[in-house]
């Protein structure tokens, strides 16, 4: 009994320790940001001594940031900068109760602002933060940098196959599926598969409903399987290879993804565009695109690039990547980001 009391006392005393925020070349720290009914997980990994942070705004909605934390990125960006993996509300390891009513784009922009404020609180007001928005994360990033003077909270933006205009995105996806599909059929490659896609695109010409938009997105994903030049990656194998070491909360990731994909706010997203407000953007911007991205076709990136007013802007295209450059062309991705951040930190 005495032993139990002593052990209990030791445990209680150790609870008085305060959190230590470390600066190191190999940091790994998890914290949460609580806002409007959601507690959002933030993982900071890599070189915090650099005082330069790259904040990943993941896709989805609801996909979570775990998939972006690959060994290659850790070894080639995390060794120089601190990588910040933020799980948006209702995504990844983020938690809460009945918070579905707050699942809105405008709320996510406020969430992002608070994540940046907490990063500066933890690591110092003088740190440099770059945003890296992928896919749906590009929409959040576009909203963020065109809201008030939020863009000046960060040193730059990396737009990685991001969407800033959903209606235009759907139109461009349809056009690309049609043009590439017709070419592939002329080359006698995957003719039956392409014909099915072409038939759908010819039957649905514009003013897309949410269901049509989602079907186009599904075709855009499968279309990558029919292009031999793309580096094909088995996402399931990829997930399983990191699930144990990175301590994935798999069931949370899955339920959050299923909920967010079907949430009402997707209707709001389907008509959201920031094309007309992008001229406000003056911070440095790097636009990275996959040549074979059907989900967010390259013309979307070109429109983004030509709309911003930044004096430092660069657009670069991977010749072997589709929509998932993080795993399809990680060498190109890391080299481009490294050069951009190095020029602007």
């Amino acid at each position: 009994m005495r032993k139990i009391l002593i052990i209990g006392l030791l445990i209680l005393l150790s609870g008085c320790q305060k959190e230590k925020i470390s600066f190191s070349s190999n940091a790994s720290e998890t914290f949460y940001v609580d806002n409007a009914g959601a507690s959002m997980r933030v993982l900071v990994e890599g070189n915090t001594l650099s005082r330069t942070f790259i904040l990943v705004i993941h896709g989805g909605p609801g996909a979570g940031s775990f998939f972006y934390n690959t060994n290659y990125i850790s070894d080639h960006l995390g060794n120089k900068y601190a990588m910040v993996y933020w799980d948006q509300r209702n995504a990844g390891a983020s938690q809460g109760n009945n918070n579905g009513g707050n699942l809105k784009l405008s709320q996510m922009v406020e969430d992002l602002k608070k994540v940046i404020e907490v990063l500066k609180f933890r690591y110092g007001q003088d740190i440099g933060i770059f945003l890296l928005g992928h896919s749906f994360g590009g929409l959040i990033a576009a909203d963020f940098i065109t809201t008030a003077d939020y863009q000046y909270m960060v040193k730059g933006l990396i737009n990685l196959d991001g969407s800033h205009n959903y209606p235009l995105n759907d139109t461009l996806t349809r056009q690309k599926l049609l043009s590439v599909g017709q070419y592939e059929i002329s080359q006698n490659r995957h003719t039956d598969d392409w014909q099915k896609i072409i038939n759908y695109c010819e039957a649905h010409k514009g003013n897309f409903s949410l269901e049509e938009s989602q079907q186009l997105e599904t075709f855009a994903t499968t279309a990558e399987d029919y292009i031999d030049s793309i580096k094909h990656v088995n996402i399931v194998t990829e997930v399983l290879s990191y699930a144990i070491t990175d301590k994935y909360p798999l069931t949370s990731m899955l339920t959050n993804l299923l909920y967010s994909e079907d949430a009402d706010f997707n209707k709001e997203l389907a008509v959201t565009s920031f094309s007309s407000s992008l001229k406000k953007v003056t911070i440095p911007v790097l636009v990275l695109w996959g040549k074979y991205d059907f989900t967010c076709p390259i013309a979307l990136g070109q429109e983004f690039f030509s709309s911003i007013s930044s004096t430092y802007k660069r657009m670069s295209v991977s010749p072997v990547s589709g929509h998932e450059m993080v795993v399809q062309d990680e060498v190109f991705l890391c080299d481009e980001i490294d050069n951009f951040v190095n020029d602007n930190k």
């Binding site: 009994m1 139990i4 209990g8 445990i11 209680l12 150790s14 609870g15 008085c16 320790q17 959190e19 720290e29 998890t30 914290f31 949460y32 940001v33 609580d34 806002n35 959601a38 507690s39 997980r41 933030v42 993982l43 509300r89 209702n90 390891a93 983020s94 938690q95 809460g96 109760n97 009945n98 918070n99 579905g100 009513g101 699942l103 608070k114 404020e117 907490v118 609180f121 933890r122 144990i244 301590k247 909360p249 069931t251 949370s252 339920t255 959050n256 299923l258 909920y259």
Partner: protein, 217 residues
Amino acid sequence: MLKIPLNLPVIMRKTIFAILLLFASASTNAQNDTIVAHSPGRFQFSISYVSSLIYPGLSTGTEYLIRTNDFSIRKNDGNYRYISKSRLAEVSVNWYHHTGFHDNLYLTVEYVMRRTRKSGLITEFAAGPGFSRTFLGGTTYKVNDNGDVSIIKHAGYNYALVTAGGGFGFDFSSKVKRPYSLIARLNMIAMFPYNSTVYIRPVLEVGFHANPFLWNK
């Protein structure tokens, strides 16, 4: 050996410590007389290691025998198979630690349907409601409208919980005349409302069940 991680929130450590004390007090002789006088065979205590993949945890509780029914089945070879069917109510306090995600402390009340063969082989199914309190797996910050940042202590959420699971084990009372058993069970816990939906988690439980009041009989 199980270790209680030192980075757990204070309130959780206190709770775990209280659970350990409760369990320890139940096995002291000082309480034997009173309980034995009422129903010595009806209560069992359990302590289990619980785990989801690589995430460790602990479970402790007590089960109350509601009724038991012994019967035999005549097999094709003419011999009989003797089976004991029991119905129990089990109350347990459970905890697991998932680094970077959360610690979950949850109370469950389960209805247990257990079959024990003469050989000692146990099969069982259990289900019931519960209550969960999670503690987030990292310091939690809140930012007000002025941009002031503060830390939320013991941040986490309360959830309603339902658990269901099945398992097997071995009752040593028939072989070595000791009132204890080992049981392995796979439970699915469902917590809600979790981000306006349901969080489901498989939990493997390997436990030791014993009746300390009958230990010396």
